[in-house]
Symmetry: C2
Subunit: 205 residues, 2 copies
């Protein structure tokens, strides 16, 4: 397809598409004549991924480029690409103290989850556990295990739907799903949790 149709199908303006070309976020099309090129479905998928990284994940161009490099490196297995997307979604935060981090690592090991050492969610979990400690709330192993079970069930379904949904989805389509899933479905899940809390308080109150 020509540039005009690519703009039409992706919902991006020609100016934006040209800007992405210059920034290296979109690969070139197949040249068909001087100053003219042919674009394919992979360009539509790429523009959709860039849009999601920009509008849903709120990433600056540099972070978008980092995610795309992971997507485009065929030597990196898909779970590493998912990890790279998660890292981009979770900008640097203060390091948790080592004791809290050890606690989080223990929970993850008990859950049997294989997760990269530098996954930002390890630190997020550690900071939350440290906050509970400071507040004198603490979290029993039994309570944490219930969250592990809930998170594991949700994530297993999400990954299955993403991987089984399309026949052999391209990595662009896959990462688009992961980012939308991580950011937007997190909002769905947390909103529902608050609603269910209010409901169960009302039922028992």
């Amino acid at each position: 397809m020509r540039m005009a149709e690519l703009a039409e199908r992706s919902g991006e303006s020609v100016a934006t598409i040209k800007y992405y070309r210059r920034e290296g976020l979109l690969p070139p099309g197949e040249p068909t004549a001087p100053n003219q090129a042919d674009y394919g479905q992979q360009h539509v998928d790429r523009l959709r991924l860039v849009r999601v990284l920009r509008d849903v994940a709120d990433l600056p161009v540099a972070a978008i480029r980092t995610v795309l490099e992971a997507v485009d490196d065929p030597s990196r297995p898909i779970h590493e690409v998912v990890g790279a997307a998660h890292r981009a979604l979770d900008p640097g935060q203060p390091e948790p103290d080592p004791e809290a981090r050890a606690m989080a690592d223990g929970v993850i090991a008990r859950a049997g989850w294989q997760v990269a050492d530098d996954a930002p969610a390890r630190d997020t979990l550690a900071r939350a556990l440290a906050a509970l400690d400071v507040l004198g709330v603490g979290a029993t192993e039994a309570a944490l295990d219930r969250y592990v079970t809930a998170a594991d069930q949700v994530a297993a379904q999400e990954v299955a739907v993403t991987l089984d949904g399309a026949e052999e989805p391209s990595r662009d389509v896959l990462v688009t799903s992961v980012v939308v899933g991580t950011v937007v479905f997190e909002q769905v899940l947390t909103a529902m949790r608050r609603l269910a809390q209010e409901h169960h308080s009302a039922v028992r109150g």
Copy 2:
């Protein structure tokens, strides 16, 4: 107990406690002599609640006062107080469009959740569903029902632990648990979900 012991047990400075007294966030103690008063466990609990609302929920004094008014109004059932705390935790955001809101209301009705019409999580859910729509992802009823199930299980456990944990907990203690639970355990749950996503991608990838 005297002011000095109240400061010691609550971890707040005498100056902060006096400030809270002036702002009406802490009820007066029992006067025992001119310029001297006796404080009880309810003052310790109140200071702890104020601290959680300030440090965990990041609320300004005016919003803290609104939550405390709900806590202190015996005519308001506890689920309304939980709702008031949720409302304070979720500052005003743009109204979702009516179609998205109707979709969210439908999901909630199907879940069988009794939730106030103005619960902010209704709008949060509506905005997330609208975002999925714009992104062309959509969410099938089956997918949404899985989130409903996960959220319902987690929240039912959380409410049960909160209400059964102490014998007849005071409303201050209860609302402290709800705020910590809503804010900090939300971080626990979402961090675990990301970890489990990475794990399940690795296992299947």
